[in-house]
């Protein structure tokens, strides 16, 4: 088969140019509009989850003060906060939002390979959000079983939302997975098959690598959640007993017998652990690009970074049972899963070292995105180190289900990805809108968020060491919890309210700057990667005008000795500017095309 450079394959791409307002902004097939739809909706549900977390904090800080929060609504808040943040906010925003916006632009493509499927993806996602939100308005409210939805507790009469709430939750998850699959297939195929000339896999920005591997993880992990959702829906609606053992509730046996709750835990965590990396890997990628750009220095150890992403992705499938040490399992399994869990620390630490070494002797520009990116390194190291504690069986057992766990996962997969998301939103805001945000407001937003999250989560580690259990509505008078724990809870609540309010700075900033921000120009940060080289800012439908770009170098040619500027865009030929790219691959003189 003769070699056909991808750029010349435009015939396979069917562009549907929008003709009306509706096809341009509502039923749009343009990846950039879809990205904004995905991102906007994800941020909106994220705000709902944020408000729920503040309700929880008010109850914990000032128990018996607010009539509004009873035990049921507290558990419902816990559940919905967790599920929304993990699945509907982080996953949707990082893959649906940033994935959609950046993949085609960074790959030098006109759009995703199947724009129609992409459009379906965002609207099915919207449907899943509607179903989820509907559970707030049904009898009994949303489910209060905790975001892990462990049976048999989900179905017991004592759990709020045990009838309609849980059904809507499972249904919404199933619909979300359909949406994710349609989007995810597009992302993977686009990255594999629709890169522009000269753009080898090893020249892709790390953002694309992170999203690529995360999407593959999603395509392999979400099936387990889909299957467990279907089986639990059967248990709830048809009276089957997949996950329900024989249970006696208030003296009467339930109509279930012989099911296995542990099976659900295995299926759930076979999804649940890769899910952590579905969120983390895109964040790793985004932060690498932000750090490199604002440090005016190439990313340290690019190949190592790529292989670390792949290694983390692979390992994430064989660690899931470290969430189940207290469920009871063969000690050899515990040994196995503890070992694999700790091995993940190796590629992860490698990435952290590389980020720090990227900063080393860089010409660091302390712009707002850089603040957030550096803040991420702090919170991520912090959350990662507590992960080493919890990965060990003997240390996990006493710490399990305490606030130490809450502090750990909020640092590592709550705050860290959120800081990256803010870094990325500020970093790419000028490309998306064509205007600069307000730098001062963004930096104020950073300090409030960064210091505030430490004020929230650092004390939680101590609460955990004291043995304060998570998910408790009120501590009551318990001997082993000293009264001073309540002082910490009050402090945390004040900090949480403060951080929650500080997010207004972000929203004010992005909306105010839409009209009042300075004109940004095509490449305000002097970034080398392809998305900043579009002929129009913001990029128009089709992205690249008449001709697709050709790439001659990697995305990290910053401060190259002998170059005219401190960055060289990816589409500048090597004959014009030197390169620091180890891989000398020239699409104009590519020998592998010769006679294939």
């Amino acid at each position: 088969m003769a070699y056909v450079p991808l750029a010349d394959q435009d015939s396979e791409m069917e562009m549907h140019h929008p003709h009306s307002w509706v096809t341009k902004y509502v039923w749009s097939q343009d990846h950039k509009v879809i990205a904004i739809q995905y991102g906007g909706l994800a941020i909106a549900v994220g705000v709902v989850a944020l408000v729920l977390s503040l309700l929880m904090r008010m109850q914990l800080g000032f128990p018996e003060t607010f009539d509004l929060i009873d035990p049921s609504s507290y558990y419902q808040s816990v559940t919905m906060h967790g599920m929304i943040m993990v699945v509907y906010m982080l996953t949707a925003l990082l893959l649906g939002g940033f994935g959609n916006y950046l993949i085609p632009l960074m790959c030098g493509a006109r759009d995703m390979v199947f724009p129609f499927l992409n459009m379906l993806s965002v609207w099915v996602y919207a449907l899943s959000v509607i179903i989820l939100m509907a559970s707030f308005f049904v009898d009994g409210g949303p489910t209060g079983a905790g975001w892990t939805l462990y049976p048999p507790q989900t179905a017991m009469a004592g759990t709020p939302g045990h009838d309609m709430g849980i059904v809507l939750m499972l249904l919404s998850l199933a619909v979300f997975i359909v949406a994710f699959t349609m989007g995810g297939l597009n992302y993977v195929t686009t990255i594999l098959q629709y890169r522009c000339r000269g753009l080898t896999m090893m020249r892709l920005p790390l953002t694309v690598w992170g999203i690529f591997i995360a999407t593959i993880l999603g395509l392999f992990a979400f099936p387990a959640l889909l299957v467990s959702a279907i089986m639990m829906l059967f248990d709830m609606l048809l009276g089957t007993s997949f996950f329900m053992p024989a249970v006696i509730e208030s003296g009467t046996p339930l109509d279930h017998n012989g099911g296995s709750p542990i099976l659900f835990q295995h299926l759930f965590w076979f999804f649940g652990h890769p899910e952590v990396y579905i969120v983390a890997l895109p964040a790793f990628g985004l932060v690498s690009d932000v750090l490199s750009t604002h440090a005016r220095k190439n990313i340290f150890g690019y190949r190592m970074m790529v292989w670390a992403i792949i290694a983390i992705g692979g390992l994430s499938f064989i660690v899931w049972a470290h969430h189940m040490y207290v469920s009871g399992m063969n000690p050899y399994f515990g040994f196995f899963f503890a070992t694999t869990t700790l091995i993940i620390a190796v590629p992860t630490a490698l990435k952290v070292y590389n980020w720090v070494l990227t900063l080393w002797e860089g010409d660091i520009r302390l712009n707002a995105p850089m603040y957030f990116a550096i803040g991420f390194i702090f919170t991520f190291i912090h959350g990662g180190l507590t992960g080493l504690f919890l990965g060990n069986v003997v240390i996990d057992l006493p710490l399990s289900d305490t606030y130490f766990v809450v502090a750990h996962f909020h640092m590592v997969m709550g705050v860290s990805p959120v800081l990256v998301i803010f870094a990325a939103l500020y970093h790419w805001y000028p490309k998306v809108t064509g205007r600069m945000f307000h730098e001062g407001m963004a930096k104020a937003h950073f300090w409030c968020t960064f210091l505030g999250t430490y004020a929230i989560y650092l004390p939680m580690h101590y609460l955990g060491f004291l043995g304060v259990p998570r998910r408790y509505y009120a501590m009551g008078s318990t001997d082993f919890i000293p009264e001073s724990a309540q002082d910490l809870n009050v402090t945390i609540t004040y900090a949480a309210l403060f951080v929650g309010a500080a997010q207004l700075l972000f929203f004010i900033n992005i909306f105010w700057s839409l009209r009042n921000g300075e004109k940004a120009g095509p490449n305000p940060w002097g970034s080398a990667s392809l998305e900043w080289q579009t002929p129009d800012t913001p990029p128009v439908h089709g992205n690249w005008g008449d001709e697709l770009p050709t790439v001659y170098r990697w995305a990290y040619d910053y401060s190259v000795p002998g170059a005219h500027e401190d960055f060289i865009p990816q589409n500048v030929p090597e004959s014009v500017e030197p390169t620091a790219d180890e891989q000398h691959f020239d699409p104009d003189h590519d020998t592998s095309k010769a006679d294939v």
């Binding site: 396979e12 000339r197 467990s228 099911g259 296995s260 592998s592």
Partner: protein, 226 residues
């Protein structure tokens, strides 16, 4: 210069082209986008069925009541003694035959023989539809005559019925979707819709169809035989 020569001596034949494909600035696979996407989807779908089957095996181990004897439940008698698994055997045979007709359709598609492609695709879809029909017959027999329900059955562990309806139902949905997909493509082939684009779409539909057949083999082995 050949691709193998560029990647250097000492590498295994075959592996060099793979490495070349992935390290070049071209598509990672020399296939149309739709085909690459179908393959990725099928791998993802494999995980779904794997989860179903491992879930089934796990529940079969944990349930407290004895597992019913499939050979007795899935038996039909034509006048004489009941023949175990006869309907399932016929269904399996039909589905595997349909893979053969599908392969022929793909072949004729690449030869641009529209009429034969069309008819072999329709034959494949007809086999698929008859499979679903027989499944409907099997379901109705179990539900109406033998009193098997998702939540319980007269033969033993309730999970038997739950698993049966869930897994065969999910697979049946896949077959039904496949029949609709094949017919859609077949009629487009007939109209000459793909004359310009090429006939890879027939193979893409075929990939899906073979996958559905392959999954059935595993369901047959694990659920009906084990």
């Amino acid at each position: 210069m050949s691709e193998a020569a560029i990647s250097g001596a000492g590498t295994m034949p075959g592996s060099s082209t793979l490495v070349d494909d992935w390290s070049a600035d071209k598509q990672a696979y020399h296939v149309p986008w739709g085909k690459a996407m179908m393959w990725i989807f099928l791998v993802s779908d494999t995980f779904i069925f794997t989860c179903f089957l491992t879930g089934y095996l796990h529940v079969r181990l944990t349930t407290t009541e004895p597992w019913p004897l499939q050979s007795e439940i899935f038996a039909l008698s034509f006048g004489g003694d009941p023949i175990p698994l006869i309907l399932i055997a016929i269904m399996t045979f039909i589905l595997i035959t349909s893979s053969g007709t599908m392969a022929l359709a793909v072949n004729f598609g690449y030869r641009r023989d529209k009429a034969k492609t069309f008819w072999f695709m329709v034959a494949t879809a007809a086999f698929g539809a008859s499979f679903v029909g027989m499944q409907a017959f099997e379901w109705s027999k179990l539900i109406l005559e033998e009193g098997v329900r998702p939540w319980g059955n007269p033969f033993g562990a309730a999970q038997f019925g739950s698993i049966f309806f869930m897994i065969t139902g999910f697979h049946g949905l896949h077959v039904t979707a496949g029949v609709i997909y094949l017919l859609t493509v077949a009629f487009k082939v007939k109209k000459g819709h793909y004359d310009k684009k090429g006939y890879e779409i027939v193979e893409i539909a075929g990939l899906y169809w073979h996958f559905v057949d392959l999954v059935w083999v595993f369901i047959f082995a694990f659920f009906y035989l084990l």
